[in-house]
């Protein structure tokens, strides 16, 4: 039995929501009642059935709607997808990775067949059946990175590795938490993270870079990151900040449950075989407060995390304007009882 893909929107009337099964599989990012940066990187290995780790590249009920939203963003602003000239080979690496993973994980929806460099890719949810020559860009309607990332959930950054550093030299970034690929493309690991507060002083990026430059083929790694978004909007780009920013001033005690969303990024890191680059998928999961608090443990824990977050972090994550309203709302769901260890619901 395949996935039933929802018809929904991430803009205008915002009809996005999670089914009850998808609420239970939500990758809640807090394993304890407080939060601070850490180099929380672990091997990206398969997790339990029914979790977002059931497959290493997760496809879920929002797939079709997310791909439609991506197409709208790209039509409006093609600069969200860029690849510096030396990154084409890495784009082919990524195309192979995503086709293989999606075909293995979801054979009822995706099929990849190969005869030497003659490939055929069938994507049933999006109605695509293309035959092409691997390595020959003239046989695809887009460059290889753009072609496959128009068919894969999440943002994708491809990093070139040279001089002991990682360089943000290609990407498809339409669902980002407020950073600009167009501005950051070509920067090294420290430069594109420059605006992040507190973490540089803690040596987070030095250690993370050392880890990432040592990632081996076939041994991907992952970490979770999080922020909050008002309305289930995927495109919270700085490019459009003047359009979505006013949403943050619309949170009231009455609409917190529907408007405020926890936004979790499942970031994974994969060595690419031909280019020796690293691809960094940033898979975004959204859940509104009304859905999240159906799990009492998550409600109690989120209350404590947001209440105790250092102001500098709250500011960086853009929570300041509605934080008090949110904490007040969540406090009513926190009876002060202890929470069990670990991420999962009770």
């Amino acid at each position: 039995m395949g996935i039933t893909f929802r018809k929904e929107t991430f803009r205008d009337d915002f009809t996005f929501k999670n089914s009850p099964e998808h609420i239970r599989r939500f990758p809640f990012p807090f394993h304890e009642d407080s939060y601070m940066y850490a180099v929380n990187i672990e091997p990206h290995v398969l997790g339990p059935k029914g979790s977002v780790l059931e497959n290493l590249i997760d496809v879920d009920e929002h797939y079709v709607a997310e791909m439609q939203d991506r197409a709208l963003v790209l039509a409006e602003d093609p600069l969200r997808c860029q690849s510096l000239p030396h990154m084409t080979l890495a784009g082919w690496d990524l195309l192979e990775l995503l086709m293989e993973q999606q075909a293995v994980g979801y054979p009822e929806h995706f099929t990849l067949s190969r005869d030497g460099d003659k490939w055929r890719w069938i994507n049933r949810p999006l109605g695509i059946d293309d035959s092409f020559t691997f390595g020959d860009v003239s046989t695809l309607p887009y460059g290889p990175m753009e072609y496959i990332t128009r068919q894969s959930q999440g943002d994708f950054c491809i990093l070139d590795q040279r001089d002991g550093n990682l360089w943000m030299d290609a990407g498809m970034v339409t669902t980002q938490a407020d950073w600009s690929l167009d501005f950051d493309i070509g920067m090294n690991f420290f430069e594109w993270h420059a605006p992040v507060p507190l973490a540089h002083e803690k040596g987070i990026f030095t250690r993370a870079l050392k880890f990432l430059t040592n990632i081996q083929q076939g041994k991907p790694a992952r970490r979770l990151n999080w922020t909050m978004t008002i309305n289930p909007r995927l495109d919270t780009s700085p490019e459009n900040y003047h359009k979505w920013g006013p949403d943050r001033a619309t949170v009231t005690p009455e609409n917190v449950g529907d408007k405020v969303h926890l936004r979790v990024e499942l970031q994974s890191f994969w060595r690419l075989p031909r280019s020796n680059g690293i691809v960094f998928p940033i898979r975004c999961y959204l859940i509104k407060m009304d859905e999240l608090v159906t799990q009492p443990k998550w409600a109690r824990r989120l209350h404590r995390v947001i209440r105790d977050l250092p102001d500098e972090l709250a500011n960086y994550k853009g929570l300041t304007r509605y934080r008090r309203t949110l904490v007040e709302w969540l406090s009513k769901l926190d009876d002060g009882s202890p929470t069990s260890p670990g991420f999962g619901p009770d």
Binding site: W192, A194, P238, E239, R321
Partner: protein, 198 residues
Amino acid sequence: MAAKSIISRPVYGTLSPQPGKHHLFVADAEGALAITDLAAKAPDGFFADAHIIFIPGNDSKHVAALEALKPAQFYQGPSFASALPRLKQTLANAHMGLHLYLAGTEGLIGQAMQAALEAGIDHTSIQTEHRGSLARRIQCVHCKGITENVTTQPATCSHCGLLLLVRDHYSRRLAAFQGVCINAEDRSEIPPTEEIFR
């Protein structure tokens, strides 16, 4: 500026004579003084194969001092844009071992470095020295337009008119600081404008 900044913000040094024969200087306004200071430390004959591209600005101050160094080539241009074709050709035809020295305003250093990066020169091999105005070149993240010579915080985008927070986040590829709408969440909030990049 002594204020604590972030890692993507460029750091400038002091020009010093490098070993070798081929030296290309690009400077504007008071950047000329960085070149004459370097000349005081340089060995005899240092400028015999040097090329100076100079944009003096509103007056021709410093031109005579640079000419007195007797560089093999001296060019004086009315703007960076007018000097750019010449700079690009020089970089494209450069010999191995060319040393590049940039001095003056951040906008000049950034744009000359952008041309050098496009010509395949590694940015860490380029000598830079900041002299003169702290005015910034900014890219509006919203409309992508570049506004030159920004001296205030916040600043108005000269293309789309949004009021922008001028960040320290800097792109060498764009040769620009990032500008992000400062009152996106509530347009009625107008923070005071201060002249801080003079």
